[in-house]
């Protein structure tokens, strides 16, 4: 079939195009129309003057960022936290998926799965309450427990050294179920015959797991990991801000690029400086996504995003 012109296609399917309209308008407004505004990184943007009426200042906003003492800290924090999140969530999710797969009883399996998945649907705001109930300085049960053991109580909220671990545990707690469901679905899809053949050859459950399940699961693991690594420059703002908030004492361990951009914009009130950092992040992010996608394409042709 020859391709019609776009206008003709619209004339032929008016109702279909009409139904596309709301989604298209939204994507245009909040997707494409935001892109020109990235230029304010090179301006001293004022909300009144708008994009065209603001003064251009060249690279001064970038200078502000790269000369500040925070730059190295927040970049390293972002990458470090993300890599830890990826490592620990993947490891525990894969292990758990394999274990749950070994469980024979369907009901048990289902209930367990539901339990794991529940935290994924809670907001970080709620998680911050839960965390406070556990490690809160006055009434938290962790502190009650420490006292019970005859140890000193710890005021976690003023000691950054604990926070990398706390954030990793929270992330694993929240995302474990989601990832586990994906891996479990992959395992359930494996060909049953392979296992039967192995059983005839006298392989035990552990051997099957080591030599069949794990190797067959690897492509999925690698694919999801590659995709996650592509986003390594993007901190989880919702998580960090809901849990740490404006508690400056903890910034050494918890401050990431996204929270820093937010503060620059809201507290310091400088959208242009915030945009400069954000633009730097977008560029690094772009390189990462492109790189990991290239890797994915090379390794498995269906694994690539685009």
């Amino acid at each position: 079939m020859k391709k019609k012109s776009f206008i003709k296609d619209i004339m032929k399917n008016p109702v279909s195009y009409l139904m596309l309209l709301p989604a298209a308008v939204y994507s245009l407004a909040f997707g494409y129309c935001t892109i020109p505004y990235m230029a304010i990184a090179f301006q001293k943007y004022s909300y009144r003057g708008g994009l065209l009426g603001s003064e251009w200042v060249g690279l001064r906003n970038f200078e502000f960022f790269f000369k500040s003492n925070d730059v190295l800290r927040i970049i390293l924090n972002t990458i470090k936290l993300n890599l830890l999140f990826i490592t620990f969530t993947t490891l525990s999710a894969v292990t758990l998926a394999i274990l749950v797969n070994e469980v024979g009883k369907r009901r048990f399996k289902k209930i367990a799965q539901s339990c794991y998945l529940l935290p994924y649907f809670l907001s970080w705001a709620i998680v911050s309450y839960i965390l406070n109930a556990i490690i809160g300085s006055r009434y938290g049960i962790a502190n009650s427990f420490l006292q019970f053991l005859g140890l000193e109580r710890i005021n976690f909220y003023v000691q950054p050294k604990y926070w990398t671990a706390i954030l990793v545990i929270l992330k694993v707690w929240k995302d474990l179920g989601m990832q586990m469901v994906i891996y479990l679905a992959a395992i359930t899809g494996f060909d049953e015959e392979v296992y039967e053949a192995a059983a005839i050859d006298g392989a035990g459950r552990f051997q099957m797991c080591r030599y069949i399940t794990l190797p067959m699961l690897m492509p999925t693991v690698v694919m999801l990991t590659i995709m996650a690594v592509g986003k390594v420059f993007y901190g989880d703002f919702g998580m960090i801000y809901a849990i740490v908030g404006d508690n400056g004492v903890l910034y050494d361990a918890t401050d990431v690029i996204d929270t820093y951009v937010f503060r620059t914009m809201r507290t310091i009130g400088s959208p242009s400086q915030a945009m400069a950092i954000s633009l730097f992040q977008a560029c690094m992010g772009f390189v990462c996504v492109w790189g990991t996608n290239y890797l994915a394409k090379k390794k498995f042709s269906e694994g690539a995003l685009f």
């Binding site: 139904m19 997707g31 758990l96 709620i126 009434y139 915030a274």
Partner: protein
């Protein structure tokens, strides 16, 4: 299979580990609920605990009596979530029908148009300027529209599902003279109930859990959704503590009691936990389809 039925120590160990992890996932939630039912003096004396020493409904009574502010925010969340879920699901369903419609020749290009926004956009600052330009600040629309009302991820989820329906369905309806609107609403959407439920659920949870729009776009506390109210409650309380330790505010200054805070958190988790068992299968299905094919 005989080998599977045998109970071995390994099997028992697996069951124990799987159960322990389930407890690890659930107990923190139980803790919040338990504290909300604990008498205040009990908390002050012994701290939080999983098993309340003395049960008390005091926190909930107080919530119902004086919780005007809480209920306002709660209603805000309920209304925004309900309206948003319906609108968002509708917008997504209509768009995915058009993208699954083979007579739309530019459907792949249009899919690309949506996909690009998923990978590449201006970020937080331009997004905020856009909302300001469109007048989406300081009103309820600001809680409803930005970042929540449409997600390309859900669009592709639904489009993939619709593409699997037989094409003859559409052709025969067209021969009978039905237009695309009728086909979509009368034939396709009823057939897509499972995926509609999944997508509606994703949108609903995103709306219910959202505080980002409130923190960025709304400053009037009357419009806060419950999630943002919770965050504010905690940061205000930390502020109060600092004031108290600095000796500025007296002991009598207002600070919501511990169990009251947890009761507020508990009623916020409420809808999700209560609906969860019924909706669980849709969630699992959606996650699996989305992650494998998306």
């Amino acid at each position: 299979m005989r080998a599977r039925k045998k109970i071995t120590p390994g099997k028992i160990l697996i069951y124990i580990v799987v159960t322990l992890v389930a407890c690890f996932c659930l107990l923190p939630l139980v803790l919040v609920v338990a504290v909300s039912f604990t008498a205040e003096e009990e908390i002050i004396r012994n701290g939080y605990s999983l098993i309340p020493g003395r049960l008390s409904l005091e926190a909930y009574k107080m919530l119902f009596k004086n919780g005007k502010e809480v209920f306002r925010c709660y209603i805000n969340s309920v209304v925004v979530t309900a309206a948003g879920t319906v609108l968002a699901t509708m917008i997504t369903a209509m768009a995915s029908y058009s993208l699954a419609n083979p007579s739309v020749q530019y459907r792949n290009a249009i899919s690309m148009f949506f996909f690009v926004t998923m990978v590449f956009n201006g970020g937080m600052v331009p997004w905020y300027i856009m909302c300001k330009n469109l007048g989406l600040t300081e009103n309820y629309l600001a809680l409803l529209i930005p970042s929540l009302i449409f997600s390309p991820f859900n669009l592709f989820l639904m489009r993939n599902y619709m593409q699997q329906l037989p094409a003859s369905l559409m052709e025969s309806a067209k021969l009978d003279g039905a237009n695309d609107g009728v086909i979509a609403f009368r034939i396709y959407f009823p057939l897509c109930k499972p995926i509609l439920a999944t997508v509606a659920l994703f949108y609903g949870i995103a709306y219910w859990n959202d505080w980002w729009n409130a923190i960025m776009l709304v400053s009037d506390s009357k419009m806060y959704p419950i999630q943002y109210y919770l965050m504010k409650l905690r940061s205000d309380q930390n502020f109060m503590k600092q004031l108290q330790s600095a000796g500025v505010a007296g002991r009598g200054a207002f600070a919501p009691s511990e169990s009251l805070q947890m009761a507020t958190a508990a009623i916020t988790i409420g809808p999700i936990v209560l609906l969860y068992p019924f909706l669980q299968k849709y969630i699992v299905k959606g996650l699996v389809i989305g992650s494998v094919k998306g």
